[in-house]
Symmetry: C2
């Protein structure tokens, strides 16, 4: 894994992956006590940054491999990214998805042309099922984060952040990244190491699912004690990846964590102040920026909003709880 | 009014006004029966394109004029744009706002540092009240649309559309613009006339408030029979402007109109498929693209989503009505 792979992924993505803007609001700055710059990857193709990694993987395959097809396991965003990138490349695509994934993500994945196979997140190993189906059908498995081409694709987010932060006059800041298996976090960290060394990545996770933060503190890979019970489904992973962890360990600052309700608060603020739709797991970094000001350093903070694929009922809940007063 | 004024406004806006992206979704393309390219000005500073016109006006004033202060009358989005641009230029700002404007818009305008004065939209003339206060306090009145510098600022949206449509390979298309007094519509039409003559602007209005569409059809300025009764508050105006109408008449195709419920449908689709927050009045052009396919020509259509300053209760209503099923 190196910066050249990220630059190559950016070249292959040109004209297909969106350059998302960098947003801000004086209202968020006031809550956070510093300038807040938001990279809204919910505006990316398929509603999350995962389209970047999927495009990177598909675009780097040789034609025969693409023609045989690909498979992925995902809570939903990697699934949609893979379905979209596969369709655009003319590659058959099978998605293995937990049975408790949001209905919207399942429906979208199928509508984008992929075959969806469900499994029980608590009792079955997606790695085992995925490997079996891939072998039976001759599909190439594209892992959601522990795959160099995927990390390289997610890292293109970091190339854009480096350029946009400089345009905004920000050269020293913490960059809070919503962290599941660490693909986005590692990719952004690698990109910033090369392009904007004054920007320091810190992973943000849901409380109780802070495997990456605890692993970084302990200096070794630790697992989460459980795998369900948070609304932040997009970033629930058992443990940091074998490829992502060493990158995170070398480049990232300490992790942060927020509660589910704090994530919903950030969903509501993103609605009110940025006019973007964030899913809870995609809003944890914004929540940390707004609600952990004493744990963050510097005059500015950069955050990713990593996805926006949220069921309407959950979104309504965020607005009812945290934007209920119409003059909030 | 000419293209040079728009280019000059773009120069003055550099580093202050956002270049909003051009979004799309295969799901929207399928509903519309053609490619749909969306210019999300809800992501602009203050949540609507109005920040462009306000910045244009403030940045062109001489220092003494700015120091004496400005005033504006507005249903809310021009108000927020003016409050924001005034604060950035150090100019005192008084906003005259209808008493039925959404609470969020009133609160935001005040929080951005402006003094808010309310009036009764049905019984009082904002023009008269505005002129009186402006004279009493020595303020410069910045009209919401019938003002060349404001039209020039809104026209910078058109410069971006011209460039982004070309990047997307679209050189012939209708451009549906949410239309109140016609400032955005006229500005975009002037910009496209110069930069992308194959792109043809058409105004979109709420049914029953289609003064511009009826005026274009009649060849003379016609008024709306009433001034309230639509949730599309951002684009309810009595009649096309004296400056905007001749531009619209020369450059625009026939108007389109949609119902309030169709606007809410578009709000829900923008949530589901683009992950942006649109207000009803800002979603009428998207509604027309999705629901008036037989009245639109060409393989692609470009639409503005002109603002996102919607009360949470109204947004919940859009999701409940039109995204109620969690697997929509």
């Amino acid at each position: 894994m190196n910066i050249d792979m990220i630059r190559a992924a950016a070249d292959r993505a040109r004209g297909h992956i969106r350059h998302t803007p960098l947003l801000s609001s004086p209202f968020l700055d006031e809550i956070a006590g510093r300038r807040v710059l938001v990279k809204p990857e919910c505006l990316q193709q398929t509603g999350s940054f995962k389209a970047r990694g999927a495009w990177s993987a598909l675009s780097a395959m040789d034609p025969d491999q693409r023609k045989a097809g690909v498979m992925a396991y995902s809570s939903g965003n990697h699934a949609q990214g893979m379905a979209w990138a596969s369709a655009a490349h003319g590659a058959p695509c099978v998605i293995l998805m937990p049975s408790d994934a949001p209905a919207l993500k399942r429906a979208n994945t199928a509508a984008l042309g992929a075959e969806v196979v469900l499994y029980d997140r608590a009792r079955e190993s997606r790695e085992e099922i995925g490997a079996r189906i891939a072998q039976e059908r001759g599909l190439t498995l594209v892992k959601p984060y522990d795959e160099p081409l995927v990390i390289a694709g997610q890292g293109t987010t970091g190339l854009e952040i480096a350029e946009q932060a400089q345009e905004a006059g920000v050269t020293q800041a913490e960059v809070l990244v919503c962290c599941g298996g660490g693909g986005l976090t590692a990719g952004v960290a690698l990109a910033l190491e090369a392009e904007a060394p004054g920007l320091k990545v810190r992973p943000v996770e849901p409380e109780g699912f802070d495997d990456t933060g605890r692993s970084l503190a302990a200096g070794e890979i630790l697992r989460n004690p459980q795998m369900d019970g948070s609304i932040c489904d997009a970033i629930l992973t058992p443990q940091p990846g074998d490829i992502t962890y060493p990158i995170l360990s070398r480049l990232c600052g300490p992790g942060l964590s927020v509660t589910d309700d704090e994530a919903l608060y950030a969903v509501a603020q993103a609605f009110l102040r940025l006019k973007i739709v964030a899913e809870p797991g995609g809003a944890v970094a914004l929540a940390a920026a707004l609600l952990r000001r004493d744990q963050i350093a510097g005059d500015a903070v950069i955050v990713t909003v990593s996805g926006g694929n949220v069921d309407p009922a959950m979104f309504n809940q965020a607005l009812t709880r945290h934007a209920g007063s119409s003059d909030t």
